[in-house]
Symmetry: C2
Subunit: 355 residues, 2 copies
Amino acid sequence: MTATTLTVALDERSYPIHIGQGLLSSFDLATVVTGPAALIVTNDIVAPLYLSRVTALLPDRDLQQVILKDGEQHKTLQAVAGILDALANARAGRDTTVIALGGGVVGDIAGFAAACYMRGVPFIQVPTTLLAQVDSSVGGKTGVNHPRGKNLIGAFHQPRLVLIDTETLSTLPDRELSAGLAEVIKHAAIADGEFFHWLEANVDSLLKRNADALGYAIRRCCEIKAAVVAEDERESGKRALLNFGHTFGHAIENSLGYGEWLHGEAVAAGMVMAAELSELPGDARQRLHNLIERAGLPTEPPPVAADKLRAAIGIDKKIIGKRLRFILLRELGEAFIDDNISEDRLSRILDHAKP
Amino acid sequence: MTATTLTVALDERSYPIHIGQGLLSSFDLATVVTGPAALIVTNDIVAPLYLSRVTALLPDRDLQQVILKDGEQHKTLQAVAGILDALANARAGRDTTVIALGGGVVGDIAGFAAACYMRGVPFIQVPTTLLAQVDSSVGGKTGVNHPRGKNLIGAFHQPRLVLIDTETLSTLPDRELSAGLAEVIKHAAIADGEFFHWLEANVDSLLKRNADALGYAIRRCCEIKAAVVAEDERESGKRALLNFGHTFGHAIENSLGYGEWLHGEAVAAGMVMAAELSELPGDARQRLHNLIERAGLPTEPPPVAADKLRAAIGIDKKIIGKRLRFILLRELGEAFIDDNISEDRLSRILDHAKP
């Protein structure tokens, strides 16, 4: 697979997404890090694998690093405070670039710190997990969890660049590869029926880490996401469709405690629940269920009591004025917002899910 | 004085500033608080005086309150975390409005919490100090201090409304009235020589809290600030002029410890230092010095060692790439950015200031 470049079109905040194998060994990162200094934020799993490659791309810069603990349970305001301390202690100026090297958790934390330091410093995403490459590194959503809810604290802060080296997937654990596939399936389910077909035909190649298949899936997801974000940066409308499966998914994560299930796993089970709520025609629900299962992902929520899930949904960001708002599917490849879900209809899904 | 309305013109983020006596007893706040719930953030000094007036304006809303401790030393990330906890615990939705009732510290903290909760909820400023009414409540700068620097952590988050009831100044301590006059003098010094003249003629009326004089000064400052912010919301250029006196001022606050001197007091001494650095023609420096003195404000920094001030300036946000950048005056009523100040030139000012 050759390198590709896409653009997220947001006027003066537009930025490129570069996708290719081995970019961490060849990309001219110094042209994007315009100031004299950068802070690399990564975690204790990714640092030994890839940190030296990033530092090698910036030989003439004053580099600092913050190494977070791996895991969603560490996506907290404290972690952000630690990065802000590091920036302040390094006397970082407005022209210091924050570089996130890692998965979605690293990107969300580092991006939020970049948004807050001096009311916003430049930010670069170098996603190393499939989930981050196909979803969380694109679009400028940053933030951390609160005990009461997922991503409850955050900011919109667009990166200057998303640099996706698909080679980093070679070191990704199987479980995380599958979790990333959940967001790949989501993109297809909400926006592209043909891509969904392609996934049904190629899910085994993806699980075997076929480079061409992974490259194509990543590009297609980034294209879909970039188009949605360009149309609705701040989620006043269409962007909410990207949350398909996420209301249930966030409730699962919150009920279990962050870090028990991976985000993608919770979204996978959440998509099946949302598909049930969608009352899809024909075999669409079953096809989604099967694809999720073949990707090595859970198709039902963990044994958590329904009222715990319901309570967790009560605080979900996607509820406006306490009405129940869900992203549903019309068919495989088309999603819509339904903000008139009755408690009853929801209860049937939740009780059905009850262990 | 009759009520006036100005507009901060920022396209879809435009908002009105209402200025008038007794607005807290008469304004139809419910038309601006469109959702079912609001969180009022205030402090332990302001709450007993004015909180009931605000709650009375919103009889049909689900109201929560957070009462902060008074003082710049409490403008911390922890205070913001406390407000975020209150919002999450109240299961506040995206349509919950955060209302800041108090001075600049309350507005900065509450505004930053509003910016971060669910990546941004509606926000209203009800400033009750002169400083907040003429400066900090307008323009969307929010944030908190870090031990290493003033306002180092924050966001741009514009309010939906700024509601200025000049009657609240009747309960303002003399020291805080003077501190507010520092920012009034700043607006005149950087943007309006005629207004500076007017201040020389009317500073005694202002100190005696003449309602017409205060109303005029507040309006004029809001006009100047609204025009600057409309032109340069995110301080990529002209908006930096509003920081006249603030590089030295922030260094003074940081060196003394937050809360020792009021922000306006530090800015007052900072303006005299910046005027010295400006090498102004004629008696301009002396006139600025005299007006600041007549307003009951310090004209020189407190007894802090020059190297402590210098170190504090090193982390100042207005330094780009460690070059020294200052806002200077060409004359009374015209400011400019000089980002080529030599260490030597700065040292002369700092050493001169040395006790």
